[in-house]
Amino acid sequence: MRRIRIYFVMLALSALCACGGEGAVTVSDTAPRIFPDYAGVTLPVNIAPPNFRLEGIHARARATLEADGERIVVSARDGAFRLPRRGWRRLCAAAAGGEITVTVETLGRDGIRYAPFVIRVSEDAVDPYMVYRLIEPGYETWGEMGIYQRCLESYREDPVIETSSAGYGCVNCHTFCAHDPDMMLFHMRQAHPGTMLLRGGRIERLNTATSGTLSPAVYPSWHPSGRYIAFSVNTTKLITLPDGNNRVEVFDSASDVVVYDTERHEIFTAPHLSRGDRFETFPSFSPAGDRLYFCSADSVEMPARYKDAHYSLCSVAFDAASGRIGTEVDTLYNARTAGRSVSFPRVSPDGAFMLYALSDYGSFSIWHRDADLRMVDLRNGREVETAAINSPEAESYHSWSSNSRWVLFNSRRIDGLYTHVYMAHVAEDGTLSKPFLLPQRDPDFYRTFMKSYNIPEFVRGRVSVPQRKIVSAAEDNEAAGVVFRVQE
């Protein structure tokens, strides 16, 4: 009995020591270094908790998040903060249109209380889902990849299609009609090749290769009516470069733009979208559907002169009622005079802004460290300042939210190799906020994650077609052929 008492006394003493060992706290006038860097960012009111860790600190720590009377205190044993979902929701609701103040302090003998930093919360909600492909970041490796959907309000990620279910071919170029999760398409290569068209639960498999086109359909853009889909057709190659700057170059040695009519199962183009002396690619319909934007470059010998391919940003009129492509080509960015190269033009759903990637040459900007995002205010032709979202590494593929208030884009800014998804708020005048990295449940997720996020797209809801149904359709359905014509 006496021995038990001694144990109890020792236990109590140890507990006291553990609790009372914090000592004096040093107050620092600098904010803590955190990863992901959420200090000063603007978050949508409905985003999942932005868990973060203290850079280089693996000690006990505490974060206090406060906003308009709401307060949550989060403890971390190893410097990694995982915010409670309900508390975060309450905090966001209280801070909507304002700020959350975050105060971090490390605990223990040499505790430091850092200067607080703020997280702004926008009242503009973001679309609840995003869809992206996860791939190896470079070279031609199709080991295992997939197209996934992620709920942005939580961390839940589900596969739309994984190659492990579908014969380990390549799946790529997923796109949606006006952010509608029930109107989706993507391509399958090698195993069960074809373009999979998912419309309202129906799945169609298309063989878009024709004798009149360079290749099966590649980069897509869905017309807002849902009837037409513009594609590029490309002869694409990849080479490895002995160059510390850009390790891979992907280039087209020929490319055209075509439009697919889903009702008539017909692919058509116009002579000025399929010129032999030019490379036309990256079609993109305007939200009203009355214009078709695309990139176009003077054709050059490939791969010898890959650095001489400079793509201009052009557009033609498109009449959805008659399915006619306009004959006059407007040039919005002239690569011949400006000297750089445009890729992935995307107009915001409200028609106010055009966002595109600009790099020194070529069309595959994600492999160019010099690639940045640029934005034009289409209402007045003014170029909008985009320095807030760019970095010294590649920024490339981007997508608008359905309310035009958010953009998400790929960036290689963390390590120059793996592409990650960032989001930034776009004010009505086009002012861009500091972008934030897609939140994950585990703050250390990105440190061991070995895939790249590719083609992130906002979607208004969940893609509900089960994977097995898509795989069955790919395996069982004969790919429907299409006819080709050139518009006179």
Binding site: E136, G138, Y139, E140, T141, G143, E144, D158, P159, E162, S164, S165, Y168, T240, L241, P242, D243, G244, N245, R247, A304, R369, P392, E393, R412, I414, D415, G416, L417, Y418, D442, D444, F445, R447, T448, M450, P466, Q467, R468
Partner: protein
């Protein structure tokens, strides 16, 4: 002295079994284990373990990676493999003894061991298969020991089957079926209750397929889950599974046969055991034929030596002769690493250009580590990196974990490349490798180079790899115009790059391309000297009438070439010309150029 207790006898039996298995595994398959190990990586990181273990089948995969990290040496791999197999045998024997005491069913516990013995040295087998097998059998064993009403046992077995499926995958089906067979054989009341665990396991299968956890229905449902998803599972995987319910079904009839006094029954026992021995022997012979081919074993050993940079041992090992193109490729890599490629390239049977520049256009992942080593030796960081990257991708696709060997190469190439991208990527990989048991020290040694260009440039190897990147760009450009090779700059690896290029031309018997490349390299001041180069130039001169006087070819080489020419002219009509010329000229480029493919070259 011989009056041993049953326990001692049993311990001795298992110790003997373990020793025999260890010796067999070590002596016959030792180098297969490090080869398997390199394509999996276990990180001592709670977050990583939890994230992986939370996936369906993830717990078994984490256990697999934990075990396989110790396969880094042939002896430790053999030790663990023998331990796993002995554990299998012990588990089966003890459980069957419980099911039917004194059953004498020796072969029933040998069968799963035999079935899994070759799987353990199969590169495509995923070791979570044996972990899952043991877990399934362990659970079955537990239910054999635990009493209770049929309904309660069945319901708890259903929960266990569902949990097992979540932790270890479709082995849960084998558990449920084995339990059902066992209960059926027992013939107790309420045995149909035991269809419930089977239903639970099948329900989990359907859910797993529906949620895309296992890709295909076949993988969700069968032992294919424990095999490279891009390959057809070996029959052994099925045999190991089938052994489970078969053992449960056969133990009682066998025991009854054993206990019978009648001579006829004894004969039946002998017949059954003989048939089982024959079946196991036939299967073992088939497995031995497939898994113990001499060239595979040599390849595994060479691969092991390559990983350790034991280049001299690679060369010595190949001295006895190479068996195939891959061995030849490894030998050429070792010679290049030792700066002896040009000097010794024709002293052993070459496999043509493939032996130096093996075709990897089909993205065969098997080749990538060797390619990465070859190109790193040749000072070509970009291809060394690309091939390492591709192999690592394959490991991620097949096993869901990295290839630490290739991750180390990626660290080397990323550090050599430098810049934000190179250093940040290297840091990511270093921090991952630092969480492994056997790679942390080497990975940490690269930390001092991060964001430190001066340290990289001062390092003999990394500095040379970095400096040589410009030369590789020149070599690529020179594919269109060899005169561009004049732009090569001397550095510690330039000679290897040139040797790789020139020996490739020689192996391909492309003397025109060789001469043009020599001109370019001479103009760049990076032309290494080697006797084979002089011989090749003399052949080129003789064939084209060009004067080779300005190439600095030694008098001895010229005399030898003239002697070769006149000997060949005098004996041109002889059928055994290759053989007789080999005696004097074997090991020269002249001999290779004239006779390669007809007769193996002799040692110089």
């Amino acid at each position: 002295m011989f009056n041993m207790s049953k326990r001692t006898r049993s311990a001795l039996l298992w110790a003997g079994c373990f020793t025999a298995l260890f010796l067999y595994m070590y002596l016959r398959h030792g180098y297969a284990f490090p080869f398997i190990e390199q394509n999996r990586m276990f990180m001592w990181d709670g977050g990583w373990i939890l994230r992986r273990a939370a996936e369906c089948g993830g717990a078994a995969a984490v256990a697999r990676d934990f075990l396989l990290q110790f396969f880094v040496e042939p002896w430790s791999g053999a030790l663990l493999a023998a331990l796993l197999l002995t554990l299998t045998a012990v588990a089966v024997q003890r459980t069957l003894e419980r099911v039917e005491p004194g059953n004498g069913a020796l072969l029933l516990w040998l069968a799963p061991v035999a079935a899994q013995m070759f799987l353990l040295v199969d590169y495509d087998y995923r070791y979570e298969g044996i972990v899952a097998w043991l877990a399934a059998w362990g659970l079955f064993s537990l239910f054999v020991r635990v009493g209770g009403g049929a309904a309660v046992r069945a319901v708890s077995a259903s929960a266990a089957a569902a949990a097992l499926y979540w932790l270890a995958g479709p082995a849960a089906i084998a558990f449920a079926v084995t339990l059902f067979v066992y209960e059926l054989r027992r013939g107790e009341k309420g045995r149909l209750w035991y269809l419930l665990p089977v239903a639970a396991a099948l329900a989990m299968t359907v859910a797993a397929y529906g949620c895309g956890w296992y890709g295909t229905l076949r993988r969700a449902f069968t032992p294919a889950a424990y095999y490279n998803p891009m390959a057809e599972p070996a029959a052994w995987a099925w045999a190991a599974w089938a052994a489970m319910p078969l053992a449960a079904a056969a133990v009682r009839p066998l025991a009854m046969l054993c206990r019978g006094a009648a001579a006829r029954r004894r004969a039946a026992v002998v017949a059954v055991e003989a048939a089982a021995v024959a079946a196991i022997a036939a299967a073992a012979a088939r497995g031995a034929r497939y898994y113990m081919q001499e060239d595979t074993r040599l390849f595994e050993r060479l691969d092991y030596l390559m990983r350790r940079g034991a280049w001299d041992e690679v060369i010595d090992e190949c001295a006895a002769g190479t068996h195939n193109t891959l061995h030849c490729f490894i030998l050429n890599t070792a010679l290049l690493e030792r700066d002896e490629l040009a000097g010794r390239a024709f002293t052993f049977p070459q496999a043509g250009l493939e032996g130096l520049s093996i075709d990897w256009s089909d993205n065969n992942p098997f080749l990538f580590p060797m390619l990465s080593d070859m190109y790193y030796a040749a000072g070509n960081v970009s291809i060394a990196q690309e091939t390492a990257f591709k192999k690592n991708s394959e490991a991620l696709a097949v096993n869901g974990s990295c290839n630490p060997r290739m991750l180390l190469r990626l660290v080397q190439t990323a550090v050599a490349t430098g810049g934000h991208s190179g250093y940040a990527t290297a840091e990511k990989y270093i921090s991952m490798l630092e969480r492994t048991l056997f790679y942390r020290r080497e990975a940490s040694s690269y930390r001092r180079f991060l964001w430190n260009d001066r340290a990289v440039e001062a390092d003999a190897r990394l500095g040379a790899e970095r400096a040589n990147m410009a030369n590789i760009a020149v070599v690529y450009a020179a594919e269109r115009d060899a005169a561009l090779l004049a732009g090569l700059h001397p550095n510690a690896l330039a000679g290897r790059t040139v040797d790789h290029l020139l020996v490739g031309r020689l192996l391909n018997r492309d003397l025109e391309g060789f001469r043009a490349a020599v001109d370019g390299c001479r103009a760049g001041g990076v032309m290494p000297s080697a006797e084979c180069y002089g011989e090749a130039l003399l052949i080129y001169g003789a064939m084209t009438g060009h004067d080779m006087a300005g190439y600095g070819i030694s008098e001895e080489t010229r005399r030898r070439f003239l002697a070769f020419q006149s000997f060949a002219a005098e004996n041109y009509s002889r059928n055994d010309l290759a053989a007789i010329m080999r005696r004097t000229y074997g090991g020269t480029y002249m001999y290779y150029y004239m006779f390669a493919g007809e007769e193996p070259a002799g040692k110089r």
